[in-house]
C-alpha cells in the first residue's frame, strides 16, 4: 500500500545497500530527483538495471554507488558516450563495475515476465548475435509444438523499482501518460517501489477508461517532486532539456568537473531544487 512520504524517507525505507534497483523511464519520465537522493544517501553495491542507462546512471556510477550494471543500450542518446560509466568500466574509477548486457527485446521481455510472475521470458531473439556467447543468462528453449528454438532470459526480479509519473491521487494511485516504457512492468517486477510524481490530485477526473494507472496497493511510496524528471521530461508538463543532455558530455568527460557538478547540484541540494524545472502545459 502506497504511503505518502518525503523523498528522503522513501529512499531510506526502500533502497538498501546491495539491492537490485531499476530506475526506469524510456527517455521519458526518468526519476532523476530520486536518483539524486540515492546518491545523497550514499547507497553502495547496487545492481543498477535500466534498458538505457542514461545520465542518471552515469551520475550514480560516477559516485561509486553500483557494483553492477544490467542494460541493453548505454549512452547519452543522440550525444555520445556516458563518460562516467566508461571510466568505471574501462579504468575502474571510482570503483570497478561489472556488466550484464542484453538486447532491448530481452530486457523488455524480462520485465514483462517479471510483472507476469513467470520465472523466465521467451522471445525470438539473439539469432546470429554474439551476445549469447558472452552472457550465460541467455539460454535456448524449444517450442513443444513446433520445435522452433527460441531465446530465454530470466524474468526480472527487482528489490526496488523507482519511476516518475505525472499524477497521483489521494489514494496513492498513479497515472502515467505518453511514452510509458517499461515503468509499469518494473514496478510489478519489484518487491518495493518508489514513484515520484509531478502533482497529487484529489482524483483523476475524466480520463480514458483504459488509462495507464498503477493502483496504490501495488506501490510502496509515493512522493510529490515537481520537476523530478528533469532533464528528462514529463508529457503534458515540461519538455526534455536536450541542451542539458548535450552539456552533460563536457561535464562528465572529466572526473573533477563531474565531482564539482555533483557537489553543487546533488550533494548541495535537495529534491526541492527540481521545482525550478516544473511546469504544466496549458
Amino acid at each position: 500500500m502506497a504511503t505518502f512520504v518525503s523523498l528522503a524517507e522513501a529512499v531510506e525505507a526502500n533502497v538498501k545497500d546491495g539491492d537490485k534497483v531499476a530506475m526506469e523511464g524510456f527517455t521519458h519520465l526518468i526519476p532523476f530527483a530520486a536518483g539524486h537522493e540515492v546518491i545523497r544517501q550514499q547507497r553502495k553495491h547496487l545492481t543498477l538495471v535500466r534498458m538505457t542507462p542514461d545520465l542518471i546512471y552515469d551520475q550514480l556510477i560516477g559516485m561509486g554507488a553500483a557494483d553492477k550494471l544490467m542494460f541493453s543500450w548505454v549512452g547519452n542518446p543522440g550525444v555520445g558516450s556516458l563518460h562516467r560509466f566508461r571510466d568505471a568500466y574501462e579504468k575502474g574509477w571510482p570503483r570497478p563495475i561489472e556488466i550484464e548486457e542484453h538486447s532491448h527485446a530481452a530486457m523488455a521481455n524480462a520485465y514483462e515476465a517479471g510483472a507476469a510472475g513467470l520465472p523466465f521470458a521467451t522471445f525470438r531473439g539473439y539469432r546470429g548475435a554474439e551476445l549469447k556467447r558472452v552472457n550465460p543468462n541467455i539460454k535456448e528453449i524449444v517450442c513443444p509444438f513446433t520445435a522452433e528454438k527460441l531465446a530465454a532470459v530470466p524474468a526480472m526480479k527487482l528489490d526496488c523499482a523507482i519511476v516518475h509519473a505525472q499524477r497521483a491521487d489521494r489514494a496513492g494511485n498513479v497515472m502515467f501518460e505518453g511514452i510509458v516504457g517499461v515503468q509499469k512492468e518494473a514496478v510489478l517486477s519489484a518487491k518495493r517501489s518508489i514513484v515520484t510524481v509531478e502533482e497529487i490530485v484529489d482524483d483523476f477526473g475524466e480520463r480514458s477508461p483504459n488509462a495507464v494507472i498503477l493502483p496504490g496497493w501495488t506501490l510502496s511510496a509515493v512522493v510529490k517532486v515537481p520537476g523530478g524528471a528533469h532533464p528528462s521530461y514529463a508529457h503534458g508538463y515540461y519538455k526534455r532539456d536536450n541542451a542539458f543532455y548535450k552539456a552533460w558530455d563536457a561535464i562528465a568527460r572529466d572526473r573533477d568537473s563531474f565531482r564539482a557538478w555533483i557537489d553543487e547540484h546533488v550533494l548541495g541540494k535537495g529534491p526541492d531544487a527540481f521545482a525550478a524545472h516544473a511546469r504544466k502545459a496549458a
Partner: protein, 256 residues
C-alpha cells in the same frame, strides 16, 4: 546545387522508401531519411520508434528515441514490451534501419565493443534493439558513413546479424527475413550479391570515384557488373531536408 555527402546518403535512403513501408526508425540519419521520405514522396509511410510510438509524424527530428515530439504526434503510444512483442516480433515491420561502428562484407554489424568483449579498448553503447530488429523486420536498410575504420575485414563483435558468413548462413540461424538489402553510405549504395550475399557497390554517388570506395573499405570491395550513378539530390529534397534540420536545431537548442 551544393550538397554534402551526408545529405546524399540521407536522400538516397529516403528514396528507397515508399508509402507501403512500415519502418522501425532509429535515431540520427535513419530518422532523417524516414521523415524526409514522409515529407516528400511517401506521405503515408508508417514510422514506428521503439519507444512505443506508432505512426508518429514528428515535426522536428528527435534527439532521443523517446522525445515528447514522437508521442505527441503519434496515432497512439504503446508500452515498450508491447512494441517489441506485438509490433517488432509480430512481423509487422517492413523495413528496419540499422547503423553501427563496424560493418563487415556480409553486412553484420558491431555496436558493442572495439577490442575484446571482456576487456574492450572502447566500450560502445551496445545492441539496443538491433539484434532483433536485424532479424524481425522484412528487410533492413543500413545507413553509415564509409571508412576503413568502420568497413572492416573482421568485426570485433557481432552485435546483429546481416548475412552471417554469407550464402544461406542467415537461414541457418533460423532467420527467414530478407536482411540488409541496401547499405547507404556517404560514397555509394551497396547491395548484397544475390548468391554469395557479399556487399557490392550498386551505385556511386555523383562525383565519387571507384578508388575512393576501395580506399574507404577494409576489405577488397567488389563492384556490381553494372554500377549505376545515384541520381543527384533534387532541390526539393535538399530544401525539405535542410528545413527539417533547421527546425530540429532550433527546437533542441531550447532548454526545458
Amino acid at each position: 546545387m551544393n550538397y554534402s555527402p551526408t545529405e546524399m546518403m540521407t536522400i538516397a535512403a529516403a528514396r528507397a522508401l515508399s508509402d507501403n513501408d512500415v519502418c522501425f526508425v532509429g535515431i540520427g540519419t535513419p530518422s532523417a531519411a524516414c521523415n524526409l521520405a514522409r515529407l516528400t514522396h511517401a506521405p503515408r509511410i508508417v514510422l514506428i520508434y521503439e519507444s512505443g510510438t506508432l505512426e508518429t509524424k514528428p515535426n522536428v527530428l528527435p534527439l532521443s528515441i523517446g522525445d515528447g515530439e514522437l508521442s505527441e504526434t503519434a496515432l497512439t503510444t504503446v508500452s515498450v514490451p508491447e512494441m517489441f512483442r506485438y509490433w517488432l516480433q509480430g512481423g509487422r515491420i517492413t523495413t528496419g534501419f540499422l547503423g553501427g561502428a563496424q560493418i563487415d562484407r556480409f553486412a553484420n554489424l558491431n555496436t558493442t565493443v572495439v577490442g575484446p568483449y571482456a576487456k574492450p579498448n572502447v566500450r560502445l553503447p551496445g545492441g539496443g534493439g538491433a539484434p532483433e530488429i536485424a532479424t524481425s523486420c522484412g528487410r533492413i536498410f543500413i545507413v553509415m558513413a564509409q571508412s576503413k575504420r568502420s568497413f572492416v575485414d573482421k568485426l570485433d563483435f557481432v552485435t546483429s546479424l546481416g548475412f552471417g558468413k554469407g550464402g544461406d548462413d542467415r537461414a541457418k540461424h533460423g532467420v527467414n527475413t530478407q536482411g540488409p538489402t541496401k547499405v547507404f553510405t556517404d560514397l555509394c549504395v551497396l547491395e548484397p550479391d544475390p548468391k554469395s550475399k557479399e556487399l557490392m557497390v550498386a551505385s556511386l554517388h555523383p562525383g565519387v570515384a571507384r578508388e575512393q570506395v576501395v580506399d574507404a573499405t577494409g576489405w577488397p570491395i567488389k563492384f556490381a557488373a553494372k554500377v549505376g550513378e545515384t541520381p543527384l539530390p533534387t532541390a526539393k529534397e535538399l530544401q525539405v531536408l535542410r528545413e527539417l534540420y533547421a527546425r530540429t536545431e532550433a527546437a533542441h537548442g531550447e532548454a526545458a
